[in-house]
C-alpha cells in the first residue's frame, strides 16, 4: 500500500504546506511564494502519474520499448508557464501596492483601507 501511493501522498502533503502558506501568511510576497510551492507540488502529482515502471524518458530511441507517458509532461510544461506568468503579474501588483501603501503586510493594508472608508463616510 505505502509503496503504491507514497509519491501521491507526499505530493499532497507538499501541496497543503504551500496552500497553508497562501491562506495563513499575512505577507503578500510570502503568499506568492506559497502559491508557487502549491502549484509546483501539483506538478509533482501529475508527473508522478506519468511514470511507468521500467520506462525511460519519452524520447524515441533504438531498442527501447517502454516510455513514460508524455502527455502529463506536456500539460505540466504549459502549467509551469502559466504559473510563472501569474507570479510575475502578482509581483508587479505587489510593487504597486508597496508604492501606494508603503507596506506589503495584509493587516496594515487592511487597517489603512478601513481608515479610508471612515474618512469617506465622514466627508461624503
Amino acid at each position: 500500500m505505502f509503496a503504491d501511493y507514497y509519491n501521491y501522498w507526499v505530493a499532497i502533503i507538499l501541496m497543503m504546506l504551500g496552500f497553508y502558506i497562501v491562506i495563513s501568511d499575512a505577507n503578500l510576497i510570502k503568499k506568492i511564494i506559497g502559491l508557487s510551492i502549491f502549484q509546483t507540488s501539483v506538478f509533482i502529482l501529475f508527473i508522478s502519474m506519468s511514470k511507468v515502471e521500467g520506462g525511460t524518458a519519452p524520447i524515441l530511441a533504438e531498442g527501447i520499448t517502454t516510455y513514460s507517458n508524455p502527455l502529463p509532461h506536456v500539460l505540466i510544461l504549459t502549467a509551469i508557464v502559466v504559473s510563472v506568468a501569474t507570479t510575475a503579474l502578482g509581483l508587479a501588483i505587489i510593487a504597486r501596492i508597496y508604492r501606494e501603501y508603503g507596506t506589503v503586510d495584509e493587516n496594515i493594508i487592511h487597517d489603512q483601507d478601513e481608515e479610508d472608508e471612515d474618512n469617506n463616510e465622514a466627508t461624503g
Binding site: A57, I59, V81, A88, L91, A92, A95
Partner: protein, 140 residues
C-alpha cells in the same frame, strides 16, 4: 546599476554571455531531438541578456536591445505562432494543421514546429527581458 564594475566581472561576463546565448540557440533548435524547445531557449536567452544588464547596467543594454524593439518582439513572436495557424487555413487545412504547409506531411510538420517554436522563443525571451526592464526601472 551604473557603478563601475570590476574588470574581472566584466571579463567574465564577456565570456559567459556569448556562451549562454549560443546555448540558448542550441536549445531552441535542438528541441526536436533532446529536451528543450522555444520556451526554455527563450528563458536562457533572456537570462544572458539580464546578466549582461546586471554587469553593464540597463542603459547600456538598452542601446543594444531598446525597450521599443523588445516591445515589438513580444507581439511578433505571438503573431508568428498564430500566423502559422492562419497560413494552414489558407492552404486548405484546419487551424495549425502543419501537414498542408509543405509538399509532404512530414516536411510540413517539421516546418510548422520549427516556426512555432521560434515564435515561442521570441515572445518568451522578449517578455522576460521586458519584465526585467520594467522591474529595474521601477526599482530606481
Amino acid at each position: 546599476m551604473n557603478k563601475k564594475r570590476s574588470l574581472i566581472l566584466r571579463e567574465a561576463c564577456n565570456l559567459i554571455v556569448p556562451a549562454v546565448l549560443l546555448y540558448a540557440l542550441y536549445v531552441q533548435f535542438h528541441g526536436d531531438y533532446g529536451p528543450g524547445g522555444g520556451f526554455q531557449a527563450g528563458v536562457i536567452f533572456a537570462a544572458a541578456i539580464i546578466l549582461y544588464a546586471l554587469v553593464y547596467g540597463r542603459k547600456k543594454t538598452q542601446k543594444i536591445f531598446p525597450a521599443s524593439l523588445v516591445r515589438y518582439l513580444i507581439s511578433i513572436g505571438l503573431l508568428l505562432y498564430a500566423g502559422v495557424g492562419v497560413a494552414s487555413l489558407f492552404m486548405g487545412g484546419n487551424y495549425l494543421d502543419y501537414n498542408v504547409l509543405a509538399h509532404n506531411p512530414q516536411h510540413g510538420q517539421h516546418l510548422g514546429i520549427f516556426l512555432i517554436e521560434l515564435g515561442v522563443g521570441i515572445t518568451v525571451a522578449a517578455v522576460m527581458i521586458m519584465i526585467f526592464y520594467m522591474l529595474d526601472e521601477y526599482a530606481d
